[in-house]
Amino acid sequence: MKKVCIVFRHSPYGTTTTREGIDFALLSASFEQQVSLVFCDEAVLHLLPNQQATLAGSKDYVSVFKAFDLYEIDTVLACKQSLETLGINQHELAIDVQIAEAVAISAALADADEVLVF
């Protein structure tokens, strides 16, 4: 069993990288890997409610975020600095995530066996 940390740093729908990363995260979790997720930079926009992916010509891969705990993905961090930069408060977010200082995210990166960035 490996500790896999997956970092998302791109904004929703402009590219498919995040969706690929989410698929990878869910797959790893279902193969009993200990998965933690980090949302930073514009990837924190994935955490906003009322998104309509189809309007952007994209599959709706954000609604699956509500199932993270079903997949036993309990560690979901959102970069505090990125949220502040974009003027987003925690209570606006669609799912409950841990708001993390940069140093907490550094610790998560160091603690994981593997880190992949999407």
Binding site: R9, C40, A102, I105, S106, L109, A110, E114, V115, V117
Partner: protein, 98 residues
């Protein structure tokens, strides 16, 4: 001890700045492909001053930037080839490709 691998230029990707936000003491950075262009930005060079920096020789020479290396002050840049790159990936606990 993490080796942070940056492959893109700061002119169109935030990878390097993001890496610098989360880098821990003892980590290193390796710059390949367009990321070697960092050499041309004095304000970025200052940010890298306290971090061991590796740059892939071929990617620098491919872009004719070898001469630029010599004009860079207050930073120690390790110009390395692929073999040294592999060695560094093994020397560190893991690699993060941003």
């Amino acid at each position: 001890m993490i080796l942070h691998h940056i492959q893109t230029s700061t002119s169109h990707d935030n990878a390097l700045r993001l890496c610098l936000r989360y880098i821990s003491p003892g980590d290193s950075i390796i710059l390949t492909a367009d990321a070697v262009n960092v050499l041309l930005y004095p304000d970025l060079i200052i940010l890298l001053a306290a971090i061991p920096i590796y740059i892939l020789k071929d990617d620098v020479e491919a872009r004719g930037l070898r001469s630029k290396l010599t004009t860079i002050r207050n930073i120690e840049i390790n110009l390395i080839d692929e073999h040294e790159f592999v060695y560094q990936t093994l020397r560190h606990n893991k690699v993060i490709t941003w």
